[in-house]
């Protein structure tokens, strides 16, 4: 014994964390400024492992920051700028109050500002780091660029966002780096591969925004401030990689159209294509890479040589962007927007994109297609047959290109069809295809069942399936010979299987508690996915049954 009594909360985790209020007081900032600082510097709270210890015995809900983070903020020059700005506002208010207009003007002229360059450099030490984190910046800038110039934020911010996004799109077109596009109910998703980084962004549809009241625009504006700075530097660097001058003069002047710049960009683009590195370690790797590269090139030339004309009702900007990314020529009605290079009457137009049920005057030497064709073709990396996308035709479902199905997940039949097409298989008659699909589903179900744990369950399910097959299958399909149903050989196999299942079950009984818990969790997750997949498959089947029945009814009526 002996020595001083150790005091509580003076060592250990309690000293590593600091509450938000204390941090604020330490930095001598208002809450709003503190927030701004955290946003700009990328500081986020931490959840301590033992909250009660850190909270000095109290269980009150508090936000904790790492003390190191806050110390790091102490030396930030921007904090001083914040204080200066506060003083400026105070002085300005006073001058206004006293109606000293010369003073107001002088103060205005000397308004303190701050730059975020050093913060960007600090947060993203390398260019790739910055590029990796640009998703949010892109989405935010695209959103802000669609805002009306009415008071929600500074007009300069909106124009800057617009400029930056146009520059970005220009870069993507020039470098031909667009990979995937997706029309969702929220907006249009784009995915580009820039310097090996996959960058995804979302662009809202061109509508006036219904500004919600429960959104703090100051927070959004702070983020946008940071993002525009980051985005500008990234654009600069990207233009530099293409040997282009930044800022591009034409673009900064014209904010609405891409046409001219793209035209110039395309000329330069030819030189760009054939400078891929050809260094390889393994032959296989090399081959795989080459194959990938070839595919990539093929995708980049997807629409090359095609001449598109956009009708006025289709989203011009996004379609023009996508089409140009894949080497097509695009034009639109001159009255719609500047930049249309040729007219509807041009005889060399190969495709006209129309989003209305019918069109009066049709040229015979061009396809009239709906905009989804462009998106689906880009995702499929091939020109899809245009028949499904003619005017007035019910469109095939638009699938997300971002979903990568693992085994055990549900694959919609359209995707299977598409994959078959990509493999180069021919289009088959529809009816047969449907049957194939059914078979696929069944096989797939069987696979799922094989994975199932218990043999008894397995048996039961199979029985169910068999009975289902008996009741549901209207058409006679060539039945598969199931091995254990015939002869003693099958019996053996079955017995073996059963034995194995039982062995497994018995072994599971001997698992330790912890492992058992983990195992159960994993199995539960697996079962849930299969259940969901089965549910989707069942829904699909029901839908197809009803649609078939309707078709039959229609046929009957016709007869």
């Amino acid at each position: 014994m002996g020595g001083l009594q150790k005091k509580k909360y003076e060592r250990g985790s309690a000293t590593n964390y600091i509450t938000r209020n204390k941090a604020r007081k330490k930095l001598q900032l208002s809450l709003a400024d503190f927030r701004r600082l955290c946003i700009l510097k990328g500081i986020y709270p931490h959840e301590p492992k033992h909250k009660k210890k850190v909270n000095k015995g109290s269980t009150a809900p508090r936000t904790f920051y790492l003390l190191k983070d806050i110390r790091f903020l102490l030396h930030e020059p921007i904090v001083r700028k914040f204080r200066e700005y506060k003083v400026f506002v105070r002085k300005l208010r006073k001058a206004y109050g006293k109606a000293e207009w010369t003073a107001v003007e002088r103060l205005r002229d000397n308004k303190p500002g701050y730059k975020l360059d050093h913060i960007i450099k600090e947060r993203y030490p390398t260019f790739i780091d910055a590029l990796r984190d640009i998703d949010d910046a892109l989405s935010m800038c695209f959103l802000f660029s669609t805002f009306a110039r009415t008071g929600k934020c500074h007009v300069q911010t909106i124009t800057l966002c617009r400029r930056l996004t146009v520059e970005w799109m220009n870069y993507v077109v020039t470098s031909r780096s667009l990979r995937k596009v997706f029309i969702s109910i929220k907006g249009i998703y784009y995915q580009a591969e820039v310097l090996g980084q996959l960058i995804t962004w979302l662009v809202p549809y061109q509508f006036a925004h219904d500004h919600p009241t429960d959104v703090d625009y100051r927070v959004m504006a702070t983020f946008t401030e940071m993002y525009t700075t980051l985005f500008g530097f990234i654009n600069f660097r990207l233009y530099q990689t293409l040997n282009l001058v930044y800022p591009p003069k034409k673009l900064s002047a014209l904010s609405a159209s891409l046409a001219r710049v793209v035209a110039t960009a395309e000329e330069e683009e030819e030189n760009q294509l054939d400078q891929f590195p050809a260094d390889g370690e393994d032959l296989e790797n090399m081959e795989a890479r080459e194959k990938e590269q070839k595919e990539q090139e093929a995708q980049n030339r997807l629409f090359e040589g095609l001449k598109f004309f956009l009708n006025r009702e289709v989203p011009r900007e996004s379609l023009a962007f996508i089409l140009r990314c894949f080497g097509a020529e695009v034009s639109w009605d001159k009255s719609l927007c500047i930049g249309g290079t040729y007219n509807v009457t041009d005889e060399t137009i190969t495709h006209q994109i129309v989003d209305r049920p019918d069109i009066d005057k049709q040229y015979i030497n061009r396809y009239y297609i709906q905009p989804q064709w462009v998106f689906d073709s880009v995702n499929a990396k091939m020109r899809l047959p245009v028949e499904d996308y003619f005017l007035g035709v019910t469109l095939p479902p638009h699938l997300s290109p971002f979903v990568e199905e693992k085994d055990g997940d549900y694959v919609p039949p359209e995707k299977l069809k598409l994959m078959a097409l990509q493999r180069g298989e021919k289009h088959v008659q529809e009816e047969e295809e449907d049957d194939d699909d059914d078979d696929d589903d069944e096989e797939y179900n069987d696979e799922v069942d094989d994975e199932d744990l218990t043999e008894e369950k397995n048996l039961k399910k199979m029985e169910d399936q068999r009975s289902q097959g008996k009741t549901l299958a209207v058409k006679v399909t060539p039945g598969k010979v199931k091995p254990w149903e015939t002869g003693s050989v099958g019996n053996k196999v079955r017995l073996e299987k059963e034995e194995k299942a039982e062995e497994k079950r018995l072994a599971i009984m001997m698992m330790k508690k912890k492992e058992k818990y983990l195992y159960d969790k994993i199995m539960f997750g697996k079962k849930r996915t299969t259940r969901e997949a089965n549910k989707l498959a069942a829904k699909r089947k029901a839908h197809e049954d009803t649609s078939k029945a309707e078709k039959k009814q229609k046929k009957a009526k016709k007869q």
Binding site: E122, K186, D214, V219, D355, L399, E499, L506, M511
Partner: protein, 736 residues
């Protein structure tokens, strides 16, 4: 000079006009009523009077003539302050009118302050509230210093009224408070009042609409307005200015003064990463966690998803009723026939904002995702196939009992099986055929049966209610049967008869013919009987929480009974003898105590970690023990290892009822209320360093669950790897 004069003139008129308008303002208030001095009117106006207007007129209240009327109503004035003020106000107007009309003073200044103009001097008290003179007979002093006396008789209401009715000039009579006299206004004065009321100038002859005279005309005059010659400085350039300008020019030439640069509004971009250091850690610290990316959209977010991704009507209802946080999808999947039909997403800004909040408000944590193949978690055990023999199939069902079979026991030769049931019978079965050899009625539900393990003795202990019955079933070798009978009859009572807890009684007559040999009557209900391995000793359990008489050990050859325990250590569940050494195992609710019978001491206390022990079995080697419990656990103890379970098995879904070891094979079985019997391979090695190997090898099912009870007892065949189980469905099953 002419201009100046004009100016002053104008000023004069202006000030006059101002004065007038001020008056006008005062008078305005009584604008509508012509007979302004009507008392009714003044009273009516009292409430509407504005304080601000009062203040500027109050100064001159007592300076001029006083209304005689108000004087006559002194008391009334005292009572009503507001009324008084009202009167005063009227007096002001009058005062001014009077002074003006009399021509004694001009209306521009208040009379009391101006020395040049003669003031009203009929009363010299000055501008004081007249009520100060209330209590005096006079009301002031005249110029000569004589008192001015109040009139002898004040007018009262009646006088007033009469005056009003009779006096034709009443309406033009006003009361002067300072002199306390009535004054009749002349025609001119009344006229003046009327004019003021109308907002006209007091002077009849003043024309306010006189034509204006321009004194600077647009016509060029031949003479200058002023004849002053121009200064010299007006046509010589200023030297000081020239010097200043030249200084500035010089400064600009020298580059000392620069024009203010226009402020940069557009941000300047440059190659920020020109000198990037790939090894530079993030400025903050190494623990930085980059923000996770947004989830990529799935098929259900498409504007035209496959039909299976759309929600059905019920799902949609469920979605709408869920809280926003609980929803699996944050949006409703929708199908649009074409792109132009897609509306704006209403929560777009919300979602971006939420993302922003996530980025700066959410604590970030690295979560280690467990990437384990579930197959790897399953322990690698020897295959059951390699651990044969063990019972795998149900081969015989012994049917005969009509109620649940609580206990079974096999004969040491393995030819016979005895079972005790709640239908108050004990049945003897031939194992191989399933035939019921014998049925004995006893006087109660049989709780436990036990076949004597000594093959040279053919005895079965049966317990029901508070009786333990020793039976000779008369099955098997006749020699053995007869020798058993001899053994029992050869007993000679000792000389000194000791008082015993149990009464031993020899059966005779028809009972003897049935096979009853000895009856041990216990003081309490007996739950279990157990034989010692040698077959001479027998232990019986009478569970009772309140006394030390729970376990009794009987010696059959000497017909002696003793209570080994002095103290009650808890409710005894079951007991067992060590197969080789003189140890005795007692299982209470939670613990198993091991006593040394020779040394008469407690050697071990095993913590079972169970809530309630139901059954217990000792390995034939004697170093291992299993315990079944009602909380679905089976605990394996290695007595040499520890007092805690070596292994805890939770195989059963429901309470365990019976456990058993095989005599020769490394097998043990457990039966539970879920109707299953689980056979485990339980290998005990002679090498003390090697732990026992426990592998479950078979789950045997067959018993039906009745009244939530499944298997009640299990026991192994003494020589074959077979297991018997008795169940609540009144059957006994043999698994081989």
């Amino acid at each position: 000079m002419r201009t100046v004069n004009l100016e002053s003139q104008k000023n004069g008129t202006m000030s006059k006009a101002k004065e007038k308008s001020a008056k006008k303002r005062v008078v305005e208030e009584d604008d509508d009523q012509l007979p302004i001095f009507d008392k009714d009117v003044t009273e009516k106006k009292a409430g509407e009077e504005d304080d601000a207007d009062l203040s500027d007129s109050e100064e001159s209240v007592f300076s001029g003539l006083e209304d005689s009327e108000s004087d006559s109503h002194d008391e009334e004035e005292d009572a009503e302050e507001g009324d008084d003020e009202e009167d005063d106000d009227d007096a002001v107007i009058l005062d001014e009118i009077l002074t003006k009309s009399s021509g004694v003073e001009t209306a521009t200044e208040p009379p009391a302050t101006d020395k040049n103009t003669p003031t009203d001097i009929r009363n010299t008290v000055g501008n004081i509230p007249m009520e100060w003179y209330q209590d005096y007979p006079h009301i002031g002093y005249n110029l000569d210093g004589k008192k001015i006396f109040k009139p002898i008789r004040n007018k009262d209401e009646l006088d007033e009224f009469l005056d009003k009715m009779e006096n034709p000039d009443y309406w033009r009579t006003v009361h002067d408070k300072t002199t306390a006299s009535d004054i009749r206004l002349s025609d001119e004065q009344v006229d003046l009042v009327h004019r003021l009321q109308k907002g006209q100038f007091g002077d009849v002859n003043f024309n306010e609409y006189e034509p204006s005279v321009d004194f600077f005309t647009n016509e060029v005059m031949i003479h200058p307005v002023t004849n002053r010659p121009q200064d010299k400085r007006s046509f010589i350039p200023s030297l000081i200015e020239k010097e200043k300008v030249s200084k500035l020019v010089h400064a600009i030439k020298m580059g000392w003064i620069k024009p203010r640069k226009p402020k940069e509004t557009t941000p300047q971009y440059y190659d920020l990463w020109a000198k990037e250091d790939p090894n530079a850690i993030l400025g903050r610290h190494k623990m930085h966690v980059p923000a996770p990316k947004m989830r990529l959209p799935g098929h259900e977010e498409s504007y035209n998803p496959p039909p299976e991704y759309l929600l059905t009507e019920e799902e949609r209802m469920a979605w709408e009723q869920q809280d926003a946080e609980d929803r699996k999808l944050p949006f409703l999947p929708q199908k649009h026939s074409c792109l132009r039909a897609v509306p704006a997403f209403s929560r777009f800004i919300h979602e971006r904002f939420e993302r922003c909040l996530d980025l700066y408000l959410c604590p970030r944590q690295r979560k280690m995702r467990v990437n384990v193949n579930p197959e790897d978690l399953i322990p690698k055990l020897p295959k059951p196939k390699d651990l044969q023999p063990f019972p795998t199939t149900m081969s015989l069902v012994y049917i005969g009992h009509s109620s649940l079979v609580r206990s079974i026991s096999a004969s040491p030769t393995g030819q016979w099986l005895v079972s005790g049931s709640d239908d108050c019978t004990v049945r003897f079965w031939e194992v191989n055929t399933g035939r019921c050899m014998k049925t004995l009625e006893v006087g109660g539900a049989v709780k436990s049966v036990a076949w004597n393990p000594n093959p040279a003795v053919c005895l079965v202990a049966v317990c029901f209610e508070s009786t333990v019955l020793l039976l000779n079933p008369g099955l098997g070798d006749r020699l053995v049967v007869s020798s058993t009978d001899q053994l029992i009859t050869s007993y000679e009572p000792p000389e000194e008869d000791k008082e015993q807890a149990v009464t031993w009684a020899l059966s005779e007559g028809p009972e003897h013919d049935n096979g009853h040999r000895l009856t041990l009557t216990h003081p309490k209900a007996v739950k279990q009987v157990v034989w010692h391995g040698k077959g001479d000793y027998l232990a019986s359990v009478m569970p009772d929480n309140s006394s030390n008489l729970q376990v009794l050990i009987h010696q059959v050859s000497k017909r002696r009974t003793q209570n080994p325990f002095r103290k009650n250590k808890g409710l005894v569940q079951c007991v067992s003898f060590h197969p080789l050494r003189p140890y005795f195992f007692v299982a209470t609710q939670r613990y198993v105590r091991v006593y040394n019978l020779i040394k008469q001491e407690l050697t071990k206390k095993l913590m079972t970690n169970c809530k309630w022990i139901s059954s217990m079995a000792i390995h034939p080697g004697g170093d291992n023990l299993i315990c079944g419990s009602y909380d679905c656990r089976l605990a394996w103890f290695d007595l040499d290892l520890s007092t805690k379970p070596y292994k805890m098995l939770r195989h059963h879904k429901k309470a365990l009822r019976g456990v058993a070891y095989h005599k020769h094979y490394p097998l043990f079985a457990s039966g539970a209320d879920d109707g299953s019997v689980i056979i485990c391979h339980g290998m005990v090695y002679n090498d003390l360093l090697q732990n026992p190997l426990i592998v479950p090898v078979k789950v045997l099912k067959g018993h039906q669950i009745t009244h939530d009870l499944g298997v009640l007892d299990v026991t192994f065949h003494p020589t074959q790897p077979w297991v018997f189980s008795s169940g609540a469905d009144a059957t006994i099953r043999l698994f081989t």
